[in-house]
């Protein structure tokens, strides 16, 4: 189970070596044994999952074909709507909210036979980098329970790394799939902006959010991505990426002839030395396989954090306006509408959510819009241009550490918001440019996991998946 991948599992199903039912039972056994300590899950769907697994097994004996994810146990971050089920985004204001419809990704995963085990813990409303901002519970890193799993998709990463699901899905706005994957020793992919529909994802920052898979292997990440992606009439920013066979079946010969850029600005002072050494070992590994490397510059990197912490809270302040306890959510008892809004939001949101709403409202407010938000949008364009220029200079992908440090201890950064924000400095610029990126565990690391990140051109997930598999498999 520790090394169970979708491919191995389906081979086992076809050969009748394993059954979907036994697979789901074994994940729930692990959950029962360990999730009391780890705390990855908020809700579990055991009865339904077992029923669905039975149905898969019956289908196999009756000779019906397998869906691409038949019997695969999936954990879903609790900001993704599953019809008829509680969806809370780990926030008090949605603690009893029952979703009225399925997110598009859920429809797609289910259509291929995936079995949802339950919903995973996260930082409230996706705001945080450690899952410590969850209103409901703490999630611990399965590799070291005194440390955070990362965030905001900490529960999803912990469920895969803790062998409590085969794959999971999360959302990534500034690194929230890649960073927890890196901290927990899993693979995490953030697709090109627009590749996966955001319909049914509780919105955080609409110009940055993407749903992505967290898996054990790069191959599995590619498979789950391929199923989730596609233009959706319910998400006007989504688009059908055109991929050939290369997405799932990389041409390793071509991949090994690629050139990868090393951005000087990402290897500056402040990177923990063992993280830097680990990424260098990846570079050495790929070099031996023929991949070329060259230094590049992304000159506006140092402004990315400021730009992100202006644009993201601004969009958050708008998106969270709908969480007012009127049409859905937790409602207080005030007499007038205005008082009710104040009460519902004051009571319903945690401190980080409030902080970001206030910051976002401020940067959009009259008199300050141009100095902050207007300026940030222009610098964002420059950050994107840095990437475009780098790719045009003759590279196929960019390599970096996923995070500057390994997983920090629970409570270590929670009292200083700015310190917490710094853990996303390598992941944030990618969302701003709308590019695809993947975090992959470095091989042979003893102790805490270290992830490296590959960033690709827009719509070039095939390149980063291919390079990832070249590293992982060959």
């Amino acid at each position: 189970m520790k090394n169970m991948t979708i491919k191995k599992f389906h081979e086992g199903l076809k050969n009748r070596d394993v059954s979907a039912y036994d697979s789901v039972v074994s994940y729930f056994d692990e959950i029962e044994k360990h999730d009391g300590t780890i705390g990855a899950y908020l809700d579990l769907y055991k009865d339904e999952a077992l029923k669905e697994a039975r149905a898969v097994d019956v289908g196999i004996t009756e000779g019906r074909g397998l869906g691409r994810l038949s019997g695969v146990s999936v954990a879903v971050k609790d900001n993704i709507l599953v019809a008829g089920k509680r969806t809370t985004a780990a926030s008090k204001i949605l603690k009893d909210y029952i979703a009225g419809y399925n997110a598009t990704v859920i429809e797609k995963l289910r259509a291929e036979g995936a079995i949802i085990l339950g919903k995973t813990n996260m930082d409230e409303l996706a705001m945080g980098s450690s899952t410590e901002n969850s209103t409901f519970k703490l999630t611990r890193n399965p590799r070291d329970p005194e440390r955070v799993p990362g965030g905001s998709s900490g529960g999803s990463a912990a469920s895969v790394a803790g062998n409590m699901s085969m794959v999971s899905i999360g959302s990534d706005t500034g690194g929230s799939v890649r960073q927890p994957a890196g901290f927990c020793g899993a693979v995490g992919l953030k697709p090109t902006y627009g590749a996966v529909s955001r319909y049914g994802l509780i919105a955080m920052a609409s110009s940055l959010d993407q749903i992505g898979p967290i898996t054990k292997t790069v191959e599995d990440a590619g498979l789950v991505y391929d199923i989730m992606r596609g233009g959706d009439k319910y998400d006007a920013t989504s688009f059908d990426g055109k991929y050939g066979d290369g997405l799932l079946n990389p041409n390793f010969k071509k991949i090994s002839e690629m050139t990868v850029g090393i951005p000087e600005e990402y290897f500056a002072e402040g990177l923990e030395s063992h993280v830097e050494e680990a990424v260098n070992s990846v570079i050495d590994d790929l070099k031996e396989k023929g991949v070329k490397f060259k230094k590049i510059n992304l000159p506006h990197t140092k402004y990315a954090l400021s730009v992100y912490y202006i644009i993201m809270p601004a969009e958050v302040s708008t998106n969270l306006a709908r969480l007012d306890g009127i049409r859905y959510g937790t409602r207080g008892s005030s007499d007038t509408l205005l008082d009710l809004y104040h009460e519902n939001k004051g009571e319903g949101f945690g401190p980080e959510a409030k902080r970001r709403i206030i910051l976002g409202t401020f940067v959009l407010s009259s008199g300050y819009y141009d100095a902050y938000y207007g300026k940030a949008q222009k610098v964002r364009a420059l950050i994107k241009k840095d990437f475009d220029d780098a790719f045009d200079s003759g590279i196929d992908a960019i390599i970096s550490p996923t995070t500057p440090t390994t997983a920090f201890k629970i409570g270590e950064k929670s009292s200083d918001p700015l310190q917490m924000y710094l853990s996303d400095i390598f992941t944030i610029p990618v969302n701003m440019a709308g590019l695809p990126a993947i975090s992959i565990p470095v091989k042979g690391v003893e102790g805490l996991p270290i992830g490296f990140q590959l960033i690709g051109r827009k719509w070039r997930e095939a390149d980063i998946l291919g390079l990832g598999r070249l590293y992982e498999e060959k």
């Binding site: 688009f239 090393i262 000087e264 402040g270 409602r331 300026k375 364009a381």
Partner: protein, 129 residues
């Protein structure tokens, strides 16, 4: 531009478990060395955002957000003349659907989530006291 070969991307330096990217350490010293001039009127903003904050929250957020705002000052040094702002994350424009009546939603499932309802109408408190 080097390609492959002997890249000097390795630097020997002492292991530093504190996070001090050159820009960030500049910002932090900036922070402690000067009086913060910019102040967010958190109380006013909380009214705009319709969030009730306690006095404690107001003063706590004032301090934290002023620190963050101070950090943003570095953006002023970026030359953005003639730069078109980036609106949103996509290059798509004008995504339309046919101007035809479409009924593919069961509104009942949404009404089930109403915290207070009467005869399937959403109940809200009065607007004026």
């Amino acid at each position: 531009m080097a390609s492959g070969g002997n890249l000097d991307h390795r630097r020997s330096r002492s292991s530093n478990s504190n996070l001090y990217h050159p820009t960030f350490s500049r910002a932090f010293s900036f922070l402690y060395a000067r009086i913060v001039i910019m102040q967010i009127d958190v109380k006013h903003i909380s009214k705009l955002a319709r969030i009730e904050l306690s006095d404690e929250e107001i003063s706590e957020y004032s301090v934290e957000l002023d620190k963050i705002l101070d950090y943003f000052k570095e953006l002023q040094e970026v030359n953005t003349e003639d730069v078109l702002p980036m609106f949103g994350g996509t290059d798509l424009v004008n995504v339309f659907r046919d101007d035809a009546e479409v009924e593919d939603f069961e509104s009942d499932t949404l009404k089930d989530a109403f915290p207070k309802q009467k005869d399937s109408y959403l109940k809200v408190p009065k607007i004026f006291s």
